[in-house]
């Protein structure tokens, strides 16, 4: 009897839970759908662009079909013949440029090679006496290079590692080995290194600046706290673009900062801040600071003053008590704040673009460049993959270290 009652009560509670979780799903459904449409699907599309490669296969279908079975030696006459037919067709359809652009990514001088060859081959009415192979080599000896064929082979798709490898300055040579990319194409490792370097620097400076502020917010006199909190939050209520533009004004050689320093006779020559690394870091730190202060404050606000007092009463000097008791207790806040600022810094675009020089641009700038100017979606996608992977990896490390399940920034 008792068991039966318990059972039925249990069932009732179970169905209650079901109803509750159904309500929860319904409540978040609009957001989920929104995120799916405007975030998840475009993201998946961009990411998939980093491994898809079907332009060449679509425009030059016959040569691509033949090349898929390439044995890494100079191809036979049949391949040249197929290529000649494809070129005639692409010249007629005015699509050769797309192929030449794609091959130019992998092959220095690829654009000229393809454009020239296609133009000359298409002009030949019928197969030349010596065969297509000879004709190609006559137009440009580069057609006897295995590297040329490797580039063509690699672009026949439909799936490619070309862009992801390129994001790490790697490419596949004609023998099929992964090697360091030619010097003129090796910029991405340096850009990634620069991106992570700037993000690390910004994170560390933010931590050093935010820690005392957060401590004051958590422990300072109540009437001043409100004002300081408002000052911390103020940047968040101002447009990022406006703030960055303000830094452009402030950091100029004849800007407020240099003028002030000169007036104080601290410097005789203006400091070159704008379009230089220091300017980028100053502006990025300013933008990111609230995201460091807030998690730190949230953690510190929960640390009772009794802990420090207990440490001191037990005989620890205030510095020791701070180091051995207070600091470890703020670790979750430090981890959350650093993670937040670091991940945000990795993706900075506007600030370096406006305040920085050519050598201060970060990965996002190049993603933007490849999508809007160079129309190299594959490389843009590959750089985005690297950025996303780094972010996910960092989060996994964080959740492991902080011992939290799921997202927690408090």
């Amino acid at each position: 009897m008792v068991a039966a009652t318990t059972k039925s009560r249990g069932r009732k509670r179970g169905s209650g839970n079901k109803a509750k979780s159904l309500t929860a799903i319904l409540l978040v459904l609009p957001l989920l759908v929104f995120l799916l449409i405007v975030f998840a699907i475009p993201l998946a599309k961009i990411l998939s662009l980093s491994v898809t490669d079907n332009e060449v296969a679509e425009i030059w279908p016959q040569a691509s079909d033949q090349l898929r079975a390439w044995d890494r030696t100079l191809p036979p006459e049949a391949v040249f013949a197929a290529l000649a037919l494809d070129m005639k067709k692409s010249q007629a359809e005015r699509t050769t440029a797309l192929v030449s652009r794609r091959l130019n990514y992998a092959l220095p001088g690829g654009r000229t090679l393809i454009t020239n060859t296609a133009r000359k081959i298409a002009a030949m009415e019928k197969p030349p006496a010596g065969g297509w192979k000879e004709a190609f080599l006559e137009v440009d000896p580069a057609w006897s290079n295995l590297a040329t064929w490797q580039a063509l082979y690699q672009s026949t798709g439909p799936v490619t590692s070309f862009y992801l490898l390129a994001a790490f300055d790697r490419s596949v040579d004609s023998a099929g080995n992964i090697v360091h990319a030619p010097e003129e194409n090796s910029v991405y490792l340096a850009i990634l290194k620069r991106t992570f370097g700037i993000a690390t620097m910004v994170t560390l400076i933010c931590l050093v600046l935010a820690f005392p502020v957060a401590y004051f917010l958590a422990n300072g006199p109540a009437h001043v706290r409100g004002i300081v909190m408002a000052l911390v939050l103020l940047p968040l209520w101002t447009s990022l673009l406006v703030r960055t533009a303000a830094w452009v004004v402030l950091l100029q050689d004849q800007g407020v900062i240099n003028r002030a320093l000169e007036a104080l006779h601290l410097i005789s020559e203006p400091l070159h801040l704008i379009f230089q690394r220091p300017g980028v870091i100053i502006a990025m730190v300013h933008v990111s600071l609230p995201y460091m202060v807030l998690p730190l404050y949230a953690t510190m606000a929960t640390i009772k003053s009794d802990y420090m007092r207990a440490g001191i009463s037990l005989g620890a000097r205030p510095v020791t008590a701070f180091r051995r008791i207070y600091l470890p207790l703020t670790a979750p806040g430090i981890a959350a704040g650093c993670l937040l600022v670091f991940i945000m810094s990795l993706g900075y675009y506007i600030t370096p673009a406006l305040v920085g020089g050519a050598s201060d641009q970060m990965v996002s700038y190049f993603i933007s460049y490849y999508t809007t100017e160079a129309v190299n979606w594959g490389l843009a996608g590959a750089l985005a993959v690297v950025l996303l992977a780094a972010t996910i990896l960092l989060y996994l490390v964080y959740s492991k270290v902080a011992g939290v399940k799921g997202a927690s920034f408090a």
Binding site: I312, L314, G315, I325
Partner: protein
């Protein structure tokens, strides 16, 4: 038990956060070595501030505190060698029980082997040796309390301060811990200063109790004296239950005085802090001293009133009586068969021995 008088001494100590109000005002207090002294008072009475000044977390605005004959106002808290147990226990959540106990020894540069020995000895004392590797969050409230106590004692401090250490425990556990702390104090003979707002705790545990009110010590006395002879109306109403009857002083000498109620009834009582003829006074009588049908003799006060309520408490019965000028009164009648209890609405004769009442200045 108390060996050395004035081991801890507050001399005219005042503490003010602004010019207008003193949190603690002109406090002078002496604690003997080995004594268990409790600072008792309502919140805001200055007891915790006094404790914090002794611990070194607050500075006196005026006056000086002496420990073992030396002034300590300029000694930083970490060099005072004073153990402290906090209401929140303040066990370090990122350290295990063992690490918490080792902390005061590590900062004193005690050797590793000695630290290990002392930690296991201290945990043995509070019967928690098996929990050495647990984090504080994995302990029950009572266990945390014992760890906090062990941590405050492990470095053999000169005195141990406790700030409402049992406030977070439930009633049963609190009584058990009171007993344990008392036993520990007896065994170690260490000087303890204990802050609480719980008068039962103060009465059962202390050698002496300092009752704080409005930033001042209202009375400093052993528990019996505090209860039997409160020095003023604040102490009388704060410690234990109390019947207060308002009237005017019509006669006063050193031992006895007579108080006249509004209907000209005269009550004889011991002389408390009432000073002069005609003064407004309160006669204070403990409910357990009120008897029904008191004997007819010269030293007993006899009054007549109406029984308004009877409340059964098991070991005693509370009889609520309304008297036309003394107002509502409560009598605690022991639950014994011999007693003939009145019914609600009955007229009752009640009274008390004159020396069980004390006349205090009205506040």
């Amino acid at each position: 038990m108390p060996e050395q008088q004035g081991y801890v001494r507050f001399e005219n100590v005042s503490k003010a956060y602004d010019a207008a109000t003193f949190v603690v005002e002109d406090l002078s207090l002496s604690v003997a070595k080995g004594e268990f002294l409790t600072m008792l008072g309502p919140s805001g009475s200055g007891k915790t501030t006094s404790l914090m000044m002794l611990a070194g977390f607050e500075q006196p605005s005026l006056g000086e505190i002496f420990l073992d004959g030396l002034p300590i106002s300029r000694v930083p808290a970490h060099r005072r060698d004073i153990g402290m147990v906090f209401q929140s226990y303040a066990l370090f959540p990122h350290m295990t029980v063992g690490e918490n106990l080792a902390f005061p020894l590590q900062v004193r540069k005690v050797s590793k082997a000695e630290t290990k020995r002392l930690v296991s000895k201290a945990l043995g004392t509070v019967k928690l040796a098996h929990l050495i590797d647990r984090k504080p969050s994995q302990l029950s409230g009572g266990q945390q309390q014992r760890v906090a106590l062990a941590r405050a004692l492990i470095f053999e401090p000169r005195i141990v301060l406790m700030d409402e250490p049992l406030g977070a425990l439930d009633k049963q556990l609190r009584e058990h811990m009171q007993h344990e702390i008392r036993a520990l104090h007896r065994r170690l003979g260490i000087t303890m200063v204990y802050v609480t707002h719980d008068q039962d705790e103060a009465l059962t545990m202390s050698d002496r109790v300092a009752v704080f009110g409005n930033g001042r010590i209202q009375q400093l006395a052993p528990p019996e004296e505090l209860y039997e002879s409160p020095s003023n109306a604040f102490v009388a109403s704060f410690i234990g239950e109390n019947n207060s009857i308002r009237g005017k002083v019509v006669f006063r000498d050193v031992n006895l005085c007579k108080i006249e109620l509004t209907d000209a009834t005269l009550l004889t009582a011991r002389t408390g802090d009432v000073q002069q003829f005609g003064e407004d006074a309160t006669v204070s009588v403990r409910p357990e001293r009120v008897v029904l049908n008191p004997p007819m003799d010269g030293s007993t006060v006899r009054l007549e009133g109406n029984c308004t309520d009877l409340v059964y408490h098991g070991d005693h019965i509370r009889v609520c009586i309304d008297h036309k000028s003394a107002g509502p009164l409560v009598a605690k009648i022991p639950n014994a068969r011999a007693y003939q209890l009145p019914k609600i609405g009955d007229a009752v004769l009640f009274g008390w021995a004159a020396e069980d009442a004390i006349a205090l200045k009205q506040v």
